[in-house]
């Protein structure tokens, strides 16, 4: 049986018809398409979740720089600051921020991470789901439900929008990751299917047009710090949606608009490092210094 699930309305309709939560619909479709059981789908998600937790743990304990030397010790600075006890954030949000930097720095130093949806945006979903699950004492099953919900959001978006900075800019990487995290968080709080979709919609609207302009073409500047920002931003999307605040523009139309904006975006702002931050005097200087270093 092939069920048409090209857009969010299709998925919501199935959920309403079958009286299921979105993660249950996703599990069912995934099991059907891959000819495996829903238990096996959940086992695979658990493996991803475990890898995310390992990346956080390793990242929190490392100050090793990336191959380029451009990043690698910012998470350690946060850890130190929080040991001193001073912060505007509660413990939960401190952890969201720390876990996000821990993961994305682990990526930059050639550590092991789970792409989510991409390597350059790998800190956002795990930091939100894992840090907040810890504070709620949410068990592993709940975390898996949350991660499947996040994955479903990315999967439906990717039916229309290529999740690659080179095709549609960073809106399609860190932007989509934030929408996934927001939706996963609403699932963790047992919000309604509509609230889950709204969390993704509200989050996506606010990152429309985000460019991909990495210095020297590396997944480091601005990607590392952007992961930290986006993690906290995703929490905002979930918070608004759980207050029943609705996106005026339906999510399927938002995704169409992102595709359009991605097509209109100059190729110079799509991972080619020919404009934006990469082309600033400082960006160019770093690029030249690295080229010299590597030509030796």
């Amino acid at each position: 049986m092939i069920i048409k699930t090209n857009n969010f309305q299709d998925i919501l309709n199935i959920a309403i018809e079958k009286n299921k939560r979105l993660y249950e619909v996703c599990e069912m479709l995934e099991a059907d398409n891959s000819e495996i059981s829903t238990e096996e789908v959940r086992d695979r998600v658990k493996h991803i979740l475990d890898s995310m937790k390992s990346a956080i743990k390793e990242g929190l304990n490392s100050e090793e720089k990336s191959v380029s030397g451009l990043c690698g010790n910012d998470c350690a600075k946060l850890v130190k600051k929080y040991k001193d006890g001073k912060s505007l954030f509660s413990k939960t949000y401190q952890n969201v921020l720390k876990y996000s930097l821990a993961t994305i720095e682990q990526n930059a130093r050639m550590g092991k991470i789970a792409a989510c949806p991409t390597a350059g945006s790998c800190g956002i979903v795990p930091s939100v789901i894992i840090a907040i699950a810890e504070s709620l004492d949410a068990n592993e099953e709940i975390q898996i439900n949350s991660l499947i919900t996040a994955g479903l959001i990315g999967k439906i978006i990717s039916n229309k929008l290529a999740l690659a900075g080179a095709v549609a800019g960073c809106q399609s990487e860190c932007g989509v990751a934030a929408a996934m995290a927001a939706a996963g968080l609403v699932e963790m709080y047992n919000g309604t299917n509509e609230q889950i979709i709204n969390a993704a919609a509200l989050t996506l609207k606010n990152i429309m047009g985000l460019v991909c302009d990495p210095v020297a073409g590396l997944v480091e500047v601005p990607c590392v710090k952007r992961n930290a920002f986006m993690s906290i931003y995703a929490v905002t999307g979930a918070e608004l949606a759980m207050a029943d605040i609705k996106s005026v523009i339906p999510i399927d139309e938002i995704v169409d608009a992102m595709v359009q904006v991605g097509e209109m975006m100059s190729p110079k702002l799509k991972e080619s490092s020919e404009a934006g931050l990469a082309a600033t005097p400082s960006g160019i200087k770093i690029t030249e210094e690295l080229a010299d270093k590597w030509n030796q």
Binding site: M110, I113, A115, G154
Partner: protein, 225 residues
């Protein structure tokens, strides 16, 4: 053929960073190329082009390609130490960094040597999000992306070869997902790449290898994803 996306294309793969196209993609190109060659080479030369050449050192593209050749998959912690591992195994490696805008932005040629095997040259591209394709083997066009078990043949071009190969596959009731043939000139050498929906038993591969006109045969397993 557009692959149907699964949940695990979005959450995952578990991989060594920092880039799905420049690191994981490089590992996969190396891994498939190594499987096609069939042995850990004694000598391997990589020609990296364009973005691979420009940003490859910072992204670990060089270590990824080499790690793949040594049999490492995208989540192998040793990718970072691929240079050391190669030295320990006595693999002589070399990288060239080139610009050629007729080539795909993320592409590499891999030239593999081993005392017991004919030298091979394999080219690949990284298409983004960890998706890759082997585009050329010894000058013949292929399109091997690791999504299927793939049978690769290079043989003397003569009538009836496609029938002889596919008849043996049909005997196993294995469906062909896609097939691609190429040749250098009529009556000389030709190539065949066949993506399969099932697993080909070894004895069928042995049967195919017995065909006089077949110079090279490899059955490449699909990538773990």
């Amino acid at each position: 053929m557009e692959k149907v996306k699964t949940l695990f294309d979005i959450i995952g793969p578990v991989m060594i960073g920092p880039s799905s196209s420049h690191t994981a993609g490089a590992v996969r190109i190396g891994l498939i190329a190594g499987n096609i060659f069939g042995e850990i080479p004694s000598k391997v030369r990589f020609r990296m082009y364009n973005s691979f050449a420009k940003t490859g050192k910072g992204h670990g593209t060089d270590r990824g390609l080499l790690g793949g050749i040594l049999g490492m998959d995208v989540d192998n912690d040793s990718i970072k130490k691929a240079f050391d591992n190669a030295k320990k195994l006595g693999v002589d490696y070399e990288f060239e960094y080139l610009e050629d805008y007729n080539r795909h932005p993320n592409s590499a040629d891999i030239i593999l040597e081993h005392p017991d095997l004919p030298k091979m040259e394999i080219s690949g591209i990284s298409k983004g999000a960890g998706e890759v394709a082997i585009t050329k083997i010894n000058g013949y066009k292929f399109n091997i992306n690791g999504d299927f078990d793939t049978l690769i043949l290079i043989y003397k071009d003569k009538p009836g070869m496609v029938y002889r190969v596919t008849a043996l596959l049909q005997g196993q009731n294995i469906n062909i997902a896609s097939m691609h043939c190429d040749r250098n000139a009529k009556g000389q050498e030709a190539s065949m790449g066949i993506c399969l929906d099932g697993v080909l038993p070894q004895y069928v591969i042995d049967e195919l290898a017995k065909i006089d006109e077949v110079y090279l045969i490899r059955n490449i397993e699909m990538l773990k994803k």
